[in-house]
């Protein structure tokens, strides 16, 4: 179940990074963010992705965990993209 947990953390991370991007901000929040909160989101997102790596490496071992992390990043990014498209489609 460590996989599910790690994917959730990468989803959080990518969601923050995505929300910090000018292009997608409106889709996520429905309004524009200040530069300062965008910066905070970026930092939070990066920390989340790195903590997923830490989680993977602690629970699965450093080698296996690092490989699994790459997979978790892929899965997390794909799921955030799916969510984003659904949100954008509903807004239209």
């Amino acid at each position: 179940m460590i996989h599910a947990l790690a994917i959730i953390v990468t989803i959080l991370g990518f969601a923050c990074l995505c929300a910090a991007m000018a292009r997608h901000r409106k889709d996520v929040f429905g309004h524009i963010l200040t530069a300062r909160s965008a910066r905070r989101l970026r930092i939070a997102g990066t920390i989340a992705l790195l903590s997923a790596l830490a989680l993977d490496m602690t629970c699965l071992g450093s080698a296996y965990g690092a490989v699994a992390w790459c997979g978790h990043l892929t899965a997390g990014a794909a799921l955030v993209l799916t969510g984003l498209n659904r949100k954008a489609a509903r807004r239209k």
Partner: protein, 523 residues
């Protein structure tokens, strides 16, 4: 200057991608399926149900080999594991001087046994193993040619990945960019997104794929230092060395205690294979090898015992840095070490790669269609790419679905049954190619995709009609493998059905040249 560089990279990406795109697509499809080759093989041999503990099953297999193949040069036993419930054995018959080399069929030197050492009557099939072998050995051609061809394709893939990274330029800015219903822009988005999301995987899989066959592609290191390749391999794998046959008969020590010794030495790791050289002779040796799932490195540890006394007489040489690196790279590529979670991640990344190559192929035509002098009558090269795209993208999956169907429908007693399963794959693939050539372009897409969808949807139905292990009984008895296989087939059917629907509804009216299309023409 910088733009000139990027443009030349874009051209390199386009043409390296196109030239080997169809082969790479086939390699991605079958290679991705190969992550579940054991599971596919189990589905294709539904007769195998019960599993047994490895040590008694191995001992039972040895008893069977002693009574049926006492004179073999060596026996090779794969004990039952979590992924394969049966004991697989094969043997190398002793070559007697002066006797002509008999051409043997696979079934003549191998058998599938149950836990009590009885032959299980399984249908003749090459199962998931065929899909695995196809992704680097292809079929209907000499293996060596195929491996060179596949190696060139992989090299082109590496070039396409690197030039693609340079061409893409907005990897982070366009990270989440996927817009639907915008024609060429949508295809480019899909290509970019699938490429970027699993980029580490593609780089790893392409590079390590080349490494698996590196001594074939770059033999010069060996030829410079060794008189013959055999001496090199004997040096590198001393645990494989041949032992002289003495001709003095002696009984074999029981294998169970040896397996316990090995497991204890390896910290409880499972035994992946048992190899017995010169069985029944005083010089017999028993080599135990660690199961592939115990470490990332593909070349697990091994332990050699004297066959008669059961004393440890050797073990895998400690690997040098280069060997260990190669072993881990091959392990990373094949993913045999991966547990369920990671295996699925491998599989999904493989699907991502398949979509990346497929969308890249389609993009080539979409991008050029708008610029054709007469869109109603495109030139030959364009038509060729169009038709080959249909044949590759819809044809191979249709072939694989047929391979599964043939496994259930061909009579079990048929001669060369396993070969005909494989022929059926290529017959369907060829039929789709002919269909793609014969029909109008858009109809060909819709019909081929719909056919693929129908074939995948037929798999669970035909399975339920021919084999007692179907979706409903699977739900009730918790037969997870069959349940998951049926679900996967239905999902594939749904995916291809959706693609056919999209292809049918899309309108291809010439679009105005907007800022976006100009941007893309430059990319």
């Amino acid at each position: 200057m910088k733009d000139g560089f990027r443009q030349s990279m874009a051209a390199l990406h386009t043409w390296t991608g196109l030239l080997f795109g169809w082969l790479l697509f086939a390699m991605f499809v079958t290679g991705t399926a190969a992550y579940f080759q054991e599971e596919i093989s189990r589905w294709m041999r539904p007769e195998l149900v019960a599993t047994a503990p490895p040590a008694p099953a191995t001992q039972a297999a040895i008893r069977w080999l002693q009574s049926t193949q006492p004179d073999a040069e060596s026996w090779f036993i794969t004990p039952p594991s979590a992924r394969n419930p049966a004991t697989e054995v094969f043997w190398q018959p002793r070559i007697v001087d002066g006797e002509p080399h008999a051409r043997r069929r696979r079934g003549d030197t191998s058998a599938t046994l149950d836990g009590d050492g009885r032959v299980v009557a399984v249908r003749e099939t090459r199962g998931g193993f065929f899909l695995y072998r196809f992704h680097f050995d292809l079929h209907y051609m000499p293996v060596l040619w195929a491996r060179y061809l596949v190696g060139i394709a992989a090299m082109f893939m590496l070039v396409a990945i690197l030039s693609g990274i340079i061409t893409h330029k907005k990897i982070f800015a366009d990270f989440f960019m996927l817009r639907f219903g915008k024609g060429q822009r949508s295809w480019l988005d899909a290509h970019n997104v699938t490429a970027v999301f699993a980029l580490p995987f593609y780089l790893m899989i392409t590079y390590t794929g080349l490494v698996t066959l590196a001594t074939l592609y770059m033999p010069w290191g060996i030829t410079a230092n060794y008189a013959s390749p055999e001496t090199f391999f004997a040096d590198v794998f001393p645990d494989n060395a041949e032992v002289a046959h003495t001709g003095v008969a002696a009984p074999l020590a029981p294998v169970g205690p040896l397996m316990a010794v090995a497991a204890q030495r390896w910290g409880g790791a499972a035994i992946g294979s048992v190899q017995i050289a010169n069985p029944g002779d005083r010089s017999a040796t028993i080599t135990l090898r660690q199961a592939a799932n115990s470490a990332i490195g593909a070349r697990g540890e091994s332990l050699v015992f004297a066959g008669v006394t059961g004393r440890v007489i050797g073990s895998s040489a400690s690997q040098g840095g280069a060997m260990a690196t190669q072993s881990v790279m091959v392990g990373l590529h094949a993913g045999r070490y991966a547990g369920w979670g990671l295996r699925w991640l491998y599989f999904l990344s493989g699907i991502g790669g398949t979509i990346m190559v497929g969308s890249g192929l389609v993009l080539w035509t979409v991008k050029r269609r708008a610029k054709l002098p007469d869109p109603m009558r495109p030139h030959f090269g364009f038509r060729l790419v169009e038709r080959l795209n249909i044949a590759a993208i819809a044809g191979l999956p249709a072939g694989i679905a047929t391979y599964f169907l043939a496994n259930r429908l061909l009579p079990t007693g048929m001669t060369e049954r396993a070969e005909w399963e494989i022929h059926s794959l290529f017959l369907t693939w060829g039929a789709v190619l002919l269909w793609a050539i014969a029909r109008p372009y858009r109809r060909a897409w819709v019909e081929s995709l719909a056919l693929t969808s129908a074939l995948f949807a037929a798999v669970p139905v035909v399975n339920a009609l021919t084999v007692p292990r179907d979706l409903l009984s699977g739900l009730m008895t918790g037969d997870w493998l069959f349940l998951a296989f049926d679900m996967a087939m239905l999902l594939l059917a749904l995916g291809f059905g959706q693609a056919a629907r999209k292809a049918a509804t899309v309108t291809s009216k010439p679009r105005r040249r907007t800022r976006e299309t100009r941007e893309m023409a430059a990319a």
